[in-house]
């Protein structure tokens, strides 16, 4: 592949061209109640080329590797067609060409584990969930693994081969009492081997137990509350509400937004530090080299409450006079790299859990995340479950807790950061511009925020 790609790229037109070819080995086991909905161990391959010609991008996606020369020509002609419509020519920030090969060693390589064993594992968790209570009416257990072998070559001499492992387990329970249906889940994901999904009986039972408990939980009453977020939900918050607006591709042609996101501007309390890191051993967001061949960097988005960094691709870095940060990622060979998060987290503070609760007369302790979405400053995310906080103590269970607000106000309203930090990579992933689910991790300590709007009846 190496000699072939180097040869082909020599003849490529334009200021810059790159080829990415991926070979993926993947398995998937899905149980829904008593049905084995999917059982698969497959392979696939595909590629994408990008050509920058006359300051514009042309891109072509294909599945036949013999077409690479033809697709490079096609991308160049698309770029030229586009160039007439571009006012500000796209430039790329310079990076040193890299020749490297990144292999991973996981404890127990899932490619060596027979499909039958994966099925048995998922089935055991499924049976545990279904057998937990008569009120459990359905379940969903999903195991996935994938090993992406990514080859990236460009006209500047970069040639990188990377192996990217990913393994996930999603354990969900559905409980029903009369007409009421409630669901709960545990969601796990890492850049690890098969060992990561073994011995998860506790998590399976926890999901089942919580689904049944939610049947007796009180629906939350809408209003404004002081809220304590657990590590997972605080992590989702920082990813969704804040992380996405620090992606420089979104700011590039959006002058008013760029003004709002000026480096040096205060965003939160002194104790607030937010990190974006390309590598933490075993984590799903790991990106040793991004899909433009840029080596990873750890950056602080917020340090001491002040905005200190943004995430960049080579193009956004060049346009803003910054350095690329290694955040240009593609979810698969079907897509071009765009600016994405990797491992994003709030650094821990010093408060104990008791200190976080202290002084809250009537608040909410929100745990876990069904999901989240943002539209710039507006965010909304759903807690998987929650508890009342009454007189500084944890009270009864609540459900249907959806939190919403303005991210800038909410960051300013962070009152306390716990010292109990956790990093989490769920079984899902991040979505942006039609590229989903991209493996990421997020993390935080427990976080206390005042004046959060909670929807509800």
């Amino acid at each position: 592949m190496r000699a072939f790609l180097k040869g082909v790229l020599k003849r490529a037109a334009g200021e810059y061209a790159e080829v990415r070819w991926e070979e993926v080995t993947r398995s998937r086991v899905v149980f829904q109640r008593d049905q084995l909905m999917a059982l698969e161990s497959s392979r696939e391959a595909g590629g994408i080329v990008r050509v920058l010609a006359d300051g514009a991008w042309g891109i072509a996606v294909f599945t036949d590797p013999e077409e690479i020369p033809k697709r490079l020509e096609e991308a160049a002609s698309l770029a030229r067609a586009a160039a007439g419509h571009v006012r500000n020519r796209i430039r790329l920030a310079p990076v040193e060409p890299v020749e490297d090969s990144v292999t991973v060693s996981v404890e127990e390589d899932f490619r060596e584990v027979p499909l039958e064993e994966k099925r048995k594992l998922a089935q055991r968790y499924n049976e545990l969930i279904l057998g937990y209570s008569k009120e459990i009416v359905s379940s969903s257990v999903r195991y996935t693994d994938s090993m992406r072998r990514v080859v990236l070559a460009n006209t500047e001499g970069t040639y990188i081969e990377q192996e990217i492992p990913d393994v996930t387990l999603h354990l969900a329970a559905v409980a029903r009492r009369n007409g009421d249906i409630q669901q709960a889940f545990e969601s796990l994901g890492e850049a690890a081997g098969y060992e990561f999904v073994k011995d998860r009986e506790e998590e399976a039972l926890a999901a089942a137990k919580r689904a049944v408990e939610l049947l007796s939980a009180k629906p939350v009453k809408g209003g404004r509350y002081t809220v304590v977020l657990d590590q997972e939900l605080a992590g989702v918050f920082i990813h969704e509400a804040f992380g996405h607006i620090c992606e420089a591709d979104f700011l590039l042609r959006n002058e008013p937004m760029r003004k709002l996101m000026q480096l040096g501007k205060r965003f939160g309390v002194e104790a607030l530090n937010v990190v974006e890191d390309g590598y933490i051993p075993g984590r799903r967001g790991n990106t040793p080299y991004d899909d433009e061949g840029v080596r990873r960097r750890k950056i602080y988005l917020i340090r001491g409450g002040i905005l200190t960094g943004l995430m960049h691709s080579r193009a956004t870095a060049a346009a803003t006079g910054m350095e690329p940060t290694g955040n240009a990622r593609a979810v698969s060979w079907e897509h071009e790299p765009i600016v994405r998060m990797r491992n994003t987290y709030i650094e821990p503070g010093e408060a104990t859990f008791e200190e976080l609760l202290k002084g809250i007369d009537h608040g909410i302790y929100a745990k876990g995340a069904f999901g989240g979405q943002t539209e710039f400053e507006q965010f909304t995310f759903s807690a998987a479950y929650a508890y009342e906080i009454v007189g500084g103590e944890i009270g009864g269970m609540l459900r249907d807790v959806v939190l919403t607000g303005n991210v800038f106000e909410t960051l300013r309203n962070i009152e306390l950061l716990g010292k109990d930090f956790e990093l989490k990579g769920g079984a899902g992933g991040c979505g942006k511009d039609g590229q989903s689910p991209l493996p990421v991790t997020f993390g935080a300590p427990h976080v206390r925020i005042r004046d959060v709007i909670v929807g509800g009846k």
């Binding site: 059982l39 161990s41 392979r43 042309g58 891109i59 996606v61 036949d64 409630q182 809408g222 943002t374």
Partner: protein, 438 residues
């Protein structure tokens, strides 16, 4: 020897799904062209039944033998197949291919994108405009060991316009979009004028009424109410016991004025096709007629489990499609909600005081199986004295779709529009939705 023949040599039954997608996308950000992209992707999925057990494998760009081996290996550890692959009959009688779409050049798409950004920024100079346009064709082929083959070319043409109003303390993101199969069903000018109308409505931020004011869901906003139904009418949800509609066929579970049909045969419907992803002919399936539950929709598996007939709703990836990689599951084709009476203006006049919901954040989060919704209103407007007086902010709506559509439906609008590439609905004026605002 083809893949199916190789599979047939090892399996009693086999089915090969192939999808070849070819198309072009152009993206504009901040009114300026960002990239032009072409795709030519071949994806395949193979299902086999070996010793009565079901196996599955999928691939893109790989050789044929590993696909057959992977499917057979999966069957070895699989569960008994509750169904057999059906005889594949019929011809492509549903119209889904418009040659005019294929003739659209990158230059056509580029010109529309540029015009859209220009038209919007002429009236609203500070607005940031992103535009995405795509056109292409997918050729889907389903063949199985009954000897039959179904094959169809389907065109698609889509446009999405996003307008961003960015001021410190007031950021608003508004988008409209449409995906169709026929060139004439999408007017870039219409989408742009829709954006401009909403921008005019939303120039001023006004306080939202709270409590339980009337809520007018625009056709696009009504997805809040339909999403739980898409899950609830799935034959698989019903069989699994997670649908609140289980055991309620024939019951008047909705307002009598409500009629909802799932129609896979509608000419040039965005999800129309002569056959589903299992080769079963699509049809016209009433889900709700006069408020009464009529049918659920099924793929081969859920139909066999429930003792029902497959309805041509076997969709790879279920609700929103997932391409060749996922096995089929029940998904809607085109959801058509029958219109009632009254233009949008008349409905606004009728509600007197309330809110209009056009877009929400957090769709599908939370307990949609139960019908519950709780969403931040992304794009919404305030109505006072029967007129739109401005845009609302920091407002959440919450309620239960099943309750709203049974007991709190005030009026159904006259004009149905295609939304989210999956349903065609008029605006719905409802009560019984809780509105919390700051």
């Amino acid at each position: 020897m083809g893949i199916l023949e190789k599979a047939a040599a090892k399996a009693k039954e086999a089915e090969l799904y192939e999808e070849y997608r070819e198309g072009i996308t152009v993206s504009f950000k901040g009114g300026e062209l960002e990239k032009v992209k072409s795709e030519a992707v071949l994806g395949r999925a193979l299902r086999v039944i070996v010793d009565g057990k079901l196996g599955f494998a999928s691939t893109a760009g790989e050789e044929e033998d590993p696909l057959v081996e992977a499917a057979v290996a999966s069957a070895r550890h699989g569960d008994p197949a509750p169904f057999s692959f059906p005889e594949l009959k019929g011809k492509g009688e549903v119209k889904v291919l418009d040659p005019e779409v294929q003739e659209l050049s990158p230059d056509d798409l580029l010109a529309w994108g540029e015009e859209a950004a220009k038209a919007i920024t002429e009236e609203f100079p500070g607005i940031i405009v992103d535009v995405f346009l795509s056109r292409g064709e997918s050729c889907v082929r389903v063949a199985n060991t009954t000897g039959g083959v179904r094959e169809e070319r389907r065109s698609y043409f889509g446009m999405y316009v996003e307008a961003q109003h960015v001021k410190e303390g007031d950021i608003w993101l508004l988008w409209v979009g449409k995906t169709v199969r026929r060139r004439e069903d999408l007017s870039p000018e219409m989408l742009v004028s829709q954006v401009i109308r909403y921008l005019r409505w939303g120039e001023r931020v006004v306080p939202s009424p709270a409590g339980r004011p009337p809520v007018l869901f625009t056709p696009r906003g009504a997805v809040v109410l339909y999403l739980p139904l898409l899950v609830g009418f799935s034959g698989l949800s019903v069989y699994m016991g997670t649908s609140p509609l289980k055991g309620r066929l024939g019951e008047e579970a909705f307002d009598r004025r409500l009629t909802i049909v799932d129609d896979g045969t509608l000419p040039f419907g965005p999800r129309s096709g002569s056959f589903d992803d299992e080769g079963v002919p699509t049809g016209r399936l009433p889900l709700v007629e006069g408020g009464v539950i009529q049918h659920f929709y099924y793929d081969l598996r859920s139909a066999a489990l429930a003792g029902a007939e497959p309805t041509g709703n076997g969709m790879k990836g279920g609700f929103f499609g997932g391409g060749f990689r996922t096995p089929p599951s029940p998904g809607p084709r085109n959801i058509l909600v029958s219109p009632g009476e009254g233009t949008l203006e008349e409905l606004i006049a009728e509600m007197k005081e309330g809110i209009i919901v056009e877009g929400v954040l957090g769709l599908g989060q939370g307990n949609i199986q139960s019908g519950a919704f709780s969403n931040n209103v992304g794009t919404g407007f305030v109505v006072k004295g029967g007129k739109v007086i401005g845009r609302l902010k920091n407002t959440m709506i919450a309620g239960n779709a099943y309750e709203v559509l049974k007991d709190h439906l005030v009026a159904i609008g006259a004009k149905a529009e295609w939304c989210h590439g999956i349903y065609r609905s008029p605006a719905l004026l409802v009560e019984g939705v809780s509105v919390v605002s700051r």
